[in-house]
Symmetry: C2
Subunit: 163 residues, 2 copies
Amino acid sequence: MTDTAAPDPRDDAAEMTRVVKGARGTLSGAVLRHLRASGSPALRSAHQQVFENVDLDGTRLTTLAERAGMSHQAMGELVAELVEQGYLERFPDPDDRRSRRVRPTAEGRVLIDRGREYLEAVREEWERSLSDLTVGQVLEALRALARICEREPGPEAIRRRDG
Amino acid sequence: MTDTAAPDPRDDAAEMTRVVKGARGTLSGAVLRHLRASGSPALRSAHQQVFENVDLDGTRLTTLAERAGMSHQAMGELVAELVEQGYLERFPDPDDRRSRRVRPTAEGRVLIDRGREYLEAVREEWERSLSDLTVGQVLEALRALARICEREPGPEAIRRRDG
DNA sequence: CTCATGTCAGGTTGACTGACATTG
DNA sequence: CCAATGTCAGTCGACCTGACATGA
């Protein structure tokens, strides 16, 4: 019997960190497992950001990278892998002969639909599991948390102490 | 003006993914920035899991690794770096001469307190920013999401379709 | 010429697995 | 001998920066 249980929930703040941290990998991990189990075993977690940001009628690599918040070099590699797997295709940009655009193939659109369907099922079930609040409220609360955390130099209570 | 804005929020499900994903790095990133700015510039994000799981009176490396959900080799490296920085110390395990324990030094305890203080300030401010719900409710909702996502083979709606 | 696009090469971080010495 | 602890070495995934060719 190993004493693996949390040390002692030393305070609510640490618990907040654990839960918020945990939520992330959980959701995208579940989508990934679903897609891999239903016919796309070579997908990797990083690929999700491509499908989340590509437009059906084509998107430039640089735009994809900006939307995903990453370098165009990193996005370029992800796209190359998905082209190889047959989910994306590149075609010349009609407006700019320097660049090309990326769009999902028919197979890619099927994949996107499967992911969306799964996410919608998760959301519906999550909604049903909440008694006194809605998913929309939870998401809005998380956005509020992000605003607090991103504000420099930190939450008001700390600013007061420092200043 | 680059068209960096989200493609079009294709559906609520994708928005859910974005928000839940975003919340994670945001919170631990903010703690890290705070600690680095207030005297511990050499901390890296991976070090947080050590402080979150170490007991004041000492914890074995293997136990630390289990609590953090990672391999003991990886945890061993994190601990070594924090020992080098003076935040942790190792001492012989009184009950088992094969192993040693890890505990925070006085400096380490100060660091832990600073982190906790910051997190409590964030939590208080987050609580104040929420009108119709509490932080506790949001955390409970995230735990519910995790339960849905971790259950195999997926949410009920998909299981129904597959079966 | 400059600016945007995309590729190539190499580096960093945070994890992993395998092999091993030590000791109960 | 077996199991647990911890170290050493090597690998990987997901990103980064720098340098560069190409074309508007």
